[in-house]
């Protein structure tokens, strides 16, 4: 069975967004003067953790199968 590839945008959208948020979070706490910048930093850096946790803990309801026999 020929597998359908997801588009590059589907594949890299989240990783690029999470990497961008991470770098923003790392710098905003360093360059910002506390207060709001720290809060933004915590939010940005917590996002990859929350997104990961959401996917890891998702109940085993099947997502729309793109391909079941690709591997």
């Amino acid at each position: 069975m020929k597998a359908r590839h997801v588009s590059a945008r589907e594949q890299w959208g989240w990783p690029v967004a999470l990497a961008g948020l991470t770098l923003f979070g790392l710098l905003s706490a360093l360059l910002g003067e506390g207060g709001l910048w720290w809060a933004l930093s915590w939010t940005a850096l917590a996002t990859p953790l929350l997104v990961s946790a959401r996917h890891v803990m998702r109940p085993s309801q099947p997502m729309t199968r793109i391909d079941d026999n690709a591997l």
Partner: protein, 344 residues
């Protein structure tokens, strides 16, 4: 792609043991300020004393042995630390000049953890080994990001194929957690590698300085108090943090080095030396402080995660734990690969 796969496998395997050790020892080190404070390792001057702090020279004069360095800690108000040839590091009450007993609540566990984390208890050899492990980790992260594409091209982001064999589920967890934390891990790995260069870089900088001043340590010289006052005049906007006298093994002959930093979250990381000539007392802010030492100063917070309050430290710890899971699933996948039956 086959080549990237080989690079990822072997660069990861070569540094996994080091990285697991670094993640496990790094976890308590993230909170070392809190642990030190809670375990009573900070020096507190007696509460009964009031009155102004004494001039620095009055305190330095009472030192046991020749003073090599003087430093202050933000978390220990009204305390001056004197490092002397005879007594080592002594904390003194800034108001009475009396030595304060350094609390020794059992062995310095956190100090040991730091020695293991930063140099494997092995001095220069440990720095070199961990520096190489850091470079391999950077390579492993890079190749892992490259491999993310072929390994997930049939999947939606974050999809875990729960109905598939354990090995596939491990692969999906490894890919998800690895790519979600890749940027953070890359920054911590690069800055950690830079930190292993701390001693060589400072040695290079010291060797560059004032080769003509070797004979100057003799005769009349400025006192620590005069040097501090001169440094403050030379850089009124900066805050002194420590001073290193020519008598110190890491001192510069002919100069008292007063290390100062700014007051903003960024500039408080950027230490600048003010050099005070021991004979003339003339102080000068080192305007040509090399970029590589500034890079080192900035690499420290980005590695330790100690620059954004307790929430940032907690996030750092959670990311550290996720890294342990990525390492563990990676090892599992490699063990599986060793068996004859191949999946994925």
């Amino acid at each position: 792609m086959q080549a990237w796969s080989v690079i990822h496998r072997w660069s990861s395997l070569a540094c996994t043991a080091f990285l697991l050790m670094l993640c496990l020892t790094g976890l308590p080190l993230i909170f070392h300020d809190e642990i030190d404070a809670a375990s009573g390792r900070l020096v507190h001057p007696p509460a009964g004393e009031h009155g102004p702090e004494l001039p620095l020279d009055r305190i330095a004069d009472r030192a046991d042995g020749a003073v090599q360095a003087i430093y202050w800690k933000d978390e220990e108000p009204r305390v001056v630390h004197l490092v002397t040839t005879k007594a080592g590091d002594t904390a003194c009450d800034a108001r009475t000049a009396l030595p304060l007993r350094t609390p020794t609540a059992g062995p310095d566990v956190m100090g040991g953890v730091l020695m293991l984390h930063s140099r494997l208890f092995a001095g220069l050899a440990g720095y070199i080994a961990l520096g190489l492990a850091g470079l391999l980790a950077v390579l492993a992260i890079l190749s892992g990001v490259v491999l993310y594409a072929p390994f997930t091209r049939h999947l939606r982001f974050g999809e875990i194929r729960r109905s598939r064999p354990l090995r596939v589920r491990m692969l999906d967890h490894h890919n998800l957690l690895g790519i979600a934390t890749a940027a953070w891990l890359a920054v911590v790995a690069v800055t950690g590698t830079i930190n292993t260069l701390e001693e060589p870089l400072f040695a290079v900088w010291r060797a560059d300085r004032r080769p003509d001043g070797i004979a100057a340590a003799q005769g009349k010289s400025v006192t620590p108090g005069q040097a501090l006052a001169a440094a403050r005049r030379a850089a009124p906007a900066l805050i002194p943090n420590s001073m290193v006298l020519p008598t110190s093994p890491v001192g510069t002959p002919g100069d008292v080095t007063v290390w100062m930093h700014g007051g903003s979250p960024l500039t408080e990381r950027l230490y600048r030396p003010v050099m005070v000539d021991v004979r003339s007392g003339r102080a000068e802010l080192d305007r040509n402080f090399p970029w590589y030492l500034n890079a080192l100063n900035l690499a420290r917070p980005l590695h330790f995660g100690d620059y954004g309050g307790l929430p940032l430290k907690i996030i750092w710890a959670l990311l550290d734990i996720v890294t342990i899971v990525v390492l563990a699933t990676g090892l599992f996948l490699w063990f599986g690969k060793c068996r004859p039956r191949r999946l994925g």
